[in-house]
């Protein structure tokens, strides 16, 4: 295991600056998730650490050693790719033992290490199969096995679950969390899926346009987002943003853009009828999720539908009128430039 430090790292492709003057320290044994929308630079950042891309500026240290010029194979990293990237002509066992074979590890030792990794990942029966004979989930486990066998200082995961179906993705997520506990190795995990980020991470690094918007423990980011972008990115269903002018009078939509009230769907109350602080709206769509119900409500003067999460099975019907309680104390207030304001 090793720490990873980035110091004022930049990366440009031609004139496009993808990573902008970024500094970040990842501690030993930490599981850090880089998350952000498409094109935010998270995969590029991972590839810079792996040595698959060259940095335009800055310093990268792994385990305290400067790695700027070190070839990928000598950085002590192992990477799991989105497309699994298994060698198609090799068996599962050959795939997993390839890196060891390349550095001249004796055959019996390779077999032992491959056997150990296969046991951890329950791949024992598949060792003689070729990648094309495996399912997506099995391939992903082999790809992880190939990384484990090398006993790397740092594991790098580049959207490893994006090609799997929802059920398998949930299972593999748990498996990766378990692996991190067992192996106690530094892991850097890239995803655009905020559920993966929230559930796996010791620390989330939320990126946007080549910069770090915010980093911290998942719940810290969820509960205390520094700006509207972070607040909107984390949380499922997404936070509602409502333009407001004054608080706490709930004057909605009077001067759009002046300030924004951010309320998570579960922070909006459903009221019996008109009363002080209640806002009238009409239910447009009802989504029954089993344990909860999502109501998408049109409020007068608010362009976007407001999503309300109701614990349990709500009896509400689309087309009906509804009264919502928008309590600013349960949400966040953002300035016109997106910064969160103290309530």
């Amino acid at each position: 295991m090793a720490s990873v430090e980035l110091e004022q790292v930049s990366k440009s492709f031609g004139k496009t600056e993808v990573i902008k003057d970024m500094s970040l320290a990842i501690k030993e044994r930490e599981l850090v998730v880089f998350v952000g929308p498409s094109g935010c630079g998270k995969s590029t950042l991972l590839r810079l650490i792996a040595g698959l891309e060259e940095m335009s500026a800055g310093t990268l240290r792994i385990g305290g050693k400067v790695m700027n010029q070190t070839p990928a194979a000598d950085r002590g990293v192992a990477m799991v790719f989105q497309s699994y990237a298994l060698y198609p002509h090799m068996t599962v066992a050959e795939n997993m033992g390839f890196a060891l074979k390349m550095i001249g590890t004796p055959r019996p030792e390779i077999d032992r290490k491959v056997g150990e990794a296969a046991e951890i990942l329950d791949l024992g029966d598949l060792l003689q199969r070729k990648p094309r004979q495996l399912s997506g989930g099995q391939r992903q486990r082999v790809a992880i096995g190939r990384a484990i066998v090398r006993k790397p200082d740092v594991f790098l995961f580049d959207e490893p679950l994006s090609n799997l179906d929802a059920e398998l993705r949930a299972r593999m997520r748990v498996e990766i969390a378990r692996l991190h506990k067992e192996l106690k190795t530094t892991m850097i995990y890239v995803t655009h899926d905020q559920v993966e980020a929230m559930t796996l991470a010791d620390r989330i690094v939320l990126l946007n346009k080549g910069r770090i918007e915010q980093q911290g423990a998942p719940l810290d980011l969820y509960e205390a987002p520094v700006n509207k972008f972070v607040a909107g990115f984390l949380g499922q269903p997404r936070m509602n943003f409502i333009a407001v002018t004054a608080v706490p009078d709930n004057v909605i939509g009077a001067a759009p853009g002046a300030m924004t009230l951010g309320l998570r769907p579960d922070a909006i109350g459903i009221l019996d009828g008109p009363r002080s602080g209640a806002v009238a709206g009409r239910i447009i769509v009802v989504e029954q999720l089993g344990t909860s119900t999502l109501l998408h409500v049109q409020l007068a003067g608010v362009a976007d539908l407001v999503t309300v999460e109701w614990r349990g099975k709500a009896a509400h019907k689309a087309g009906a009128d509804i009264w919502l309680g928008l309590d600013p104390a349960k949400g966040h207030l953002f300035a016109a430039d997106g910064r969160r304001l103290a309530l």
Binding site: A50, G51, L52, P71, A72, A73, D74, V77, A78, M79, F81, Q82, S83, Y84, A85, L86, Y87, P88, H89, F98, A99, M102, K130, R132, Q133, L134, S135, R146, R150
Partner: protein, 295 residues
């Protein structure tokens, strides 16, 4: 009721008839010719059995031509494939001017054989040739080398010209094969192995193997049946130094007007070619024809 299952042959006839007409008929006619005495000057064409074959096989030139053809094939086919793979690997990189160099490499492909031959005659020309001039300027030789008129060198010189004409096709196919390799697999290789040579051997080459076998078979056939460069560059000479079996088909038929013997040589070339294909595909085990196993 019309059913596609009832008369399968009938449905295929519209496609099969032209194929039969343009391939089976000429081959059958050549076989017939090889078994008859067909000479332009004699109106009668009597059946002579295997006499043409016997005459061809026992002639003075046959052993020379066979040896030349095999040597030509053994030099040319692997050279085309090795150089094709090397150039494709080089051109796969992106660098300043790579697009222009790609176009230049493909140039020999668009030149007709006869023009390539003329071009190479001038390269090898003893008095005005670029090659001799270059070697002299570099101080490597004192007097010009008669590349195309020396019995020892002529076959190699023609082989060089032949390889030059065939490389672009190999480059295009190998580049296509390289492009089809998942880039993440190559990156995984970069993380797993430091040596570029080992990465090529263990990761890239296995992915190219099927294409390499196809190219080897194709180039062995092209070299073994090559005729145009010899015709235009040396006319089979000096002596029989560049007389290839395929060139001898032309010479028997259109120089001697002995079509029976020409066809007999043609059939011998076909048999040897078939043997070559089988030998190459056996010698280089490939996943090309391996059955895909279901998961």
């Amino acid at each position: 009721m019309w059913s596609i299952n009832r008369f399968p042959i009938a449905w295929l006839l519209p496609a099969l008839l032209p194929v039969a007409f343009i391939t089976i008929y000429p081959i059958a006619h050549a076989l017939w010719t090889s078994l008859h005495q067909v000479m332009i000057l004699f109106p009668v064409e009597p059946f002579v059995g295997l006499d043409n074959y016997k005459r061809v096989l026992t002639s003075d030139y046959f052993i020379d031509a066979l040896r030349n053809s095999l040597l030509f094939t053994v030099i040319a086919a692997p050279s085309v494939v090795i150089l094709g793979v090397a150039i494709a690997l080089f051109l796969q990189r992106r660098f300043f001017g790579s697009q222009i160099i790609r176009s230049i490499v493909l140039l020999p492909w668009v030149l007709p054989g006869a023009i390539s031959a003329v071009l190479w005659v001038w390269v090898f020309h003893p008095s005005f040739g670029v090659l001799n001039g270059l070697l002299m300027n570099l101080g490597l030789i004192d007097e010009s080398i008669p590349w195309l008129t020396s019995p020892k060198l002529a076959l190699y010189a023609v082989a060089v010209a032949h390889v030059w004409t065939q490389i672009p096709f190999a480059v295009v196919l190998v580049m296509a094969a390289l492009a089809s390799i998942n880039s993440e697999v190559l990156e995984a290789g970069e993380i797993d192995c430091r040596s570029p040579y080992k990465r090529f051997r263990h990761i890239v080459f296995p992915e190219l193997k099927a294409m390499v076998v196809v190219l080897l078979v194709y180039n062995a056939l092209t070299a073994f049946t090559s005729y145009d460069l010899v015709y235009a560059m040396t006319g089979g000479g000096p002596g029989t130094a560049t007389t290839l079996l395929s060139f001898q088909i032309w010479r028997e038929s259109f120089s001697m007007y002995d079509f029976g013997a020409g066809s007999a040589v043609a059939f011998i070339v076909v048999l040897i070619s078939a043997a070559l294909i089988i030998a190459i595909t056996r010698a280089l085990p490939s996943d090309l024809f391996a059955k895909e196993e279901a998961s």
